[in-house]
Amino acid sequence: MKPGHGEVVLTEGDPAVREDEERLVAEFRHQLDEGMWAAVPTTQAASGRRQAQMVRDYADIPADAERVIFFPRAAGG
C-alpha cells in the first residue's frame, strides 16, 4: 500500500524458482528497511475466519501464502 496510490505490485514470482526467490527476498528486505510492516492474509483452518499474520522475516512467510502486503508502520496519530 502506498499513500496516495493505493495498491502497487512490487514484484511477483515463484518462491520455488531460485532466481524468483532471490528477487522476492531482496524486495522483502528492501521494504522492511524502508520501515514498512509486512502482513500475510491467512484463514484459520478450524473456524475459517480470516485474519492477518505479521511477518518480520522472509522465512516467517507461510509456504502457501499468495501475497505479502506491505504497509507503512503505525505511528501515534
Binding site: R50, A52, P72, A75, G76
Partner: protein
C-alpha cells in the same frame, strides 16, 4: 618578472578562495531549492488528478474485500466501519501502561464471550468498547504515514487505512496498541456518533442474522 606574476596569481587565488567557495555554496543551495520546488510542483500535479484518488480507492476496496471476512466486508460496505473483537485479556488493551512488551497475549477460550471490541473507521481513531454494555473504553489514535516521501501530503486511501488497521489488529494487536496514542473516548470521535454506530451495527446484525446476532442476544 615571471616569478612576480606567479606570486601575484597565487595571492589573488588565496584572496578569491572564500568568494569562490561562497559562490559555489550558493549555487549548490539554489540547485537544492530548485529540486525541492520541482518535487513540490510534481506532487501538486499528481494531487490535482481527481481520478487518481478514485482509482486508488477502488483498488483499495478490492484489496480490502479480498482480505477480510465476508461479514466484515459487508459491514464496511453498509455501515462504513469494521468491528474487530479484541483477543487479549480483558483489561489489557484499555490500560496501555500495564502492557509489558515481553508479555505474551492470552487469547480467550474459543467459546468465551469477547470482552471488548474495536471499531475501525477510515482515517479516524480506533474506538474500543465493551460489546455487552456498549460502554466506550478508549480511542487509539494511529496513522500510517508515508515514510519514503519525506514531507508528503498524501495518505492511504480510506479502504487501505481500514485494511492496515485490520491487519495490524488481527496480526499483532499488542504492537498496534503500543504504537497508538491512547485517549479517553470523545477526543476525536464523537461518542454520540459511536453509540449511533453501535446501534446501527446491532440493527444490521439483527436484520442479517435475525436472533443469531451475538450482541442482540446479550442485550
Amino acid at each position: 618578472m615571471l616569478l612576480a606574476l606567479l606570486a601575484l596569481a597565487l595571492v589573488a587565488a588565496v584572496l578569491l578562495a572564500p568568494t569562490i567557495a561562497r559562490a559555489a555554496r550558493q549555487l549548490n543551495e539554489r540547485r537544492v531549492r530548485a529540486q525541492a520546488h520541482r518535487r513540490a510542483r510534481l506532487a501538486r500535479t499528481e494531487f490535482a488528478d481527481p481520478g487518481r484518488e478514485r482509482r486508488a480507492e477502488q483498488r483499495a476496496r478490492e484489496l480490502l474485500r479480498s482480505c477480510v471476512n465476508d461479514e466484515e466486508w459487508s459491514m464496511y460496505r453498509d455501515l462504513g466501519f469494521i468491528r474487530v473483537y479484541g483477543r487479549l485479556a480483558a483489561r489489557r488493551p484499555v490500560f496501555q501502561d500495564a502492557i509489558s512488551a515481553t508479555e505474551q497475549p492470552e487469547p480467550p477460550a474459543p467459546d468465551a464471550a469477547p470482552q471488548y471490541a474495536y471499531l475501525i473507521y477510515p482515517h479516524k481513531p480506533i474506538v474500543a468498547y465493551v460489546p455487552q454494555t456498549r460502554r466506550l473504553l478508549s480511542e487509539y489514535c494511529v496513522e500510517f504515514p508515508d515514510l519514503t516521501g519525506a514531507i508528503s501530503q498524501t495518505r492511504l486511501p480510506d479502504s487501505d487505512d481500514v485494511l492496515a488497521k485490520w491487519m495490524a489488529l488481527t496480526g499483532d494487536e499488542r504492537r498496534l496498541i503500543r504504537n497508538a496514542n491512547m485517549h479517553l473516548p470523545g477526543r476525536q470521535v464523537d461518542p454520540g456518533r459511536v453509540r449511533r454506530d453501535l446501534w446501527r451495527l446491532a440493527e444490521w446484525e439483527r436484520q442479517r442474522r435475525g436472533s443469531d446476532s451475538v450482541e442482540a442476544r446479550r442485550r
